[in-house]
Symmetry: C2
Subunit: 130 residues, 2 copies
């Protein structure tokens, strides 16, 4: 889930995690939730997406519920029943969100890369005097 971290001279890596939260901070949409949504888009099923993301269906469902409650709009069109049991797909609003988040994440990666590069350079300098 997390991006592979970046290395310094001393086998040091930088990691980060971002997430969205609501006004009260009680709900959250994590990186893993966005990965899940992307997989649902790809596979058309919450169950398959959860497996692909290596999380339990229970958690996947809970995360989606939490996200939808927080955003106050549907992220997923869920279809129950039928010979195949059912299937799911992202709503237009969810696609928009996912698209914006992907762009956000990409910008982040680039920024992190640059910032960590500076960090590495700084760590190669002599210690601060004070």
């Amino acid at each position: 889930m997390d991006k592979p971290p970046r290395q310094t001279k001393h086998d040091l890596f930088l990691n980060y995690k971002i997430w969205l939260s609501g006004l009260t901070g009680n709900g959250r949409i994590s990186d893993t939730t966005f990965s899940l949504l992307a997989k649902i888009k790809e596979l058309g099923s919450i169950k398959l997406a959860a497996q692909a993301c290596d999380i339990s269906y229970r958690k996947a469902w809970g995360d989606i519920e939490e996200a939808e409650k927080m955003l106050e709009y549907q992220l997923i069109d869920k279809q129950r029943g039928g010979k195949d049991g059912g299937h799911s797909q992202l709503t237009p609003a969810c696609n928009k969100l996912l698209e914006a988040y992907d762009a956000l994440h990409q910008k982040f990666d680039d920024s992190v890369e640059a910032a960590f590069e500076d960090f590495r350079k700084a760590m190669l300098q002599k210690p601060a005097s004070k």
Copy 2:
């Protein structure tokens, strides 16, 4: 500890957390650990710093141990005994690390600000066609 998140149109906030890890990923230096180090520098005591950071001394000590084990160098000069019981101060290497980390964090904040601004704009556009 975490920076106050930023808001979108729909009461949506962006949060993030960064941390350093070692090669194997078993150790970590979190944001809270750096805050702790900064407080130790300011207050000259692990105990006082832990109180100021609102974490238990037990956790503070464990975090420091973990960080030093990971980096394989001392972060803190610890003085035991004496009428005052003892005191602590950061090593030069720790000061360097802290300085570099602060700069890194600042760059992060700026990047987050910019990236989230773009995110907000994207969320105001019409939904993706597909």
